[in-house]
Point group: C2
């Protein structure tokens, strides 16, 4: 067994235990768009197939208890969640790797809005440097990493390089002072103390669809 | 309120409630690679920060109870999960949209392995048709959708087009007979009865990192 913690040990878990606040935020944004002013934990639970006791417990953690018989104020609770998630101010990010994935992420709706800003893509390929994504995010030289991070107060690094290059890039991001890394490379990274790495496993979504197809085949739905 | 169910109502939930089997599968694959033969639910829970009672409950659902004092046979349990997830045979998929995202997904490790096969990318842009991804997945004309699905027994459609085009593509995939759709477009789709749509929200990962940074700022870690 490896003495060094790897991303598989830790990140495999976050899929299950984190993200509830983000889910609540999406529900509330949806209700706000529909013009709904208040919502009870029971209604939230019912409409979005969540657990009402869990909702009350999570929200009580930051002092939101709702009003008996009325529920939570939708806009106020949404604003509270935005604050709790730390996206009430903009956090800058860089993407390492200006291949198809990096370019797609640079222009991905939600990566460049409401609390996040993609400053640049960085790549070692001189042919790519100087280009921009369709939305105009510039591709800069990877050697400028430290400089770009410092000048733009970048807080988040996004790894969109091959599995082979991912560890080197990860270590460089940490050396540049970043403490939050989103990894798209299909590889177990050796982690550094105090640095949060979130690895994205897109395959899990296909497995969920396969599970559904299998249930249909087995006549269970 | 919309009378038609949208993806937000339903999919926002799956983030929380599904995926446990996939997580177990990753843990077991990891242990198998390390040469470990048996594992208890307590050890699984401890090493991967899962809940041991939940693990036992989930696995008992398909008749896996382990052996008292020994635990589960790693390889056997892994094979059982592969079967439960319906990936003991290959399921074919098509990607609609051969832009940066579609191209990245076509070559994404895990989308073309162990139970999944990307047959083709489909696009309406004649300039893109005839090209291939770096790994050699062909880009075909979108008009050929029905044909490609029928000839290759495609079961899964992956939407990698803009938000504006996503609903039309979704409806075309359903009309072509698909019952499992993975949606990357940031839009709430109107769903069809009997069709499973899984929408991927990549932003949730950034929010999780922001939450961590905020905790550090607040001196909570």
């Amino acid at each position: 067994m490896s003495p060094v913690p790897t991303s598989s040990d830790r990140d495999v878990v976050s899929e299950l235990t984190t993200g509830r606040l983000s889910v609540y935020l999406r529900c509330l944004t949806f209700l706000e768009l529909q013009g709904q002013k208040t919502v009870s934990s029971a209604e939230l639970a019912d409409r979005f197939h969540l657990n009402s006791a869990q909702i009350r417990k999570d929200l009580a953690c930051f002092g939101e208890f709702g009003t008996r018989g009325v529920g939570y104020d939708v806009s106020q609770l949404k604003q509270q969640l935005v604050q709790e998630l730390g996206i009430d101010r903009t956090r800058n990010a860089v993407i390492i790797g200006a291949g198809n994935l990096g370019m797609a992420l640079a222009d991905y709706a939600g990566f460049n809005a409401n609390g996040f800003h993609i400053v640049a893509l960085l790549d070692i390929d001189p042919v790519k440097v100087g280009r921009t994504s369709r939305q105009g995010i510039p591709v800069l030289a990877y050697e400028q990493l430290d400089d770009v991070v410092r000048r733009n107060r970048v807080e988040i690094g996004i790894i969109a390089v091959t599995a082979t290059a991912a560890q080197i890039v990860h270590d460089a991001l940490v050396a540049a002072g970043l403490r939050a890394i989103l990894n798209f490379a299909p590889v177990q990274l050796r982690l550094h103390e105090g640095v949060k790495v979130k690895s994205v496993d897109l395959r899990i979504n296909l497995e969920s669809l396969s599970f559904h197809l299998k249930k249909v085949e087995d006549g269970m739905t």
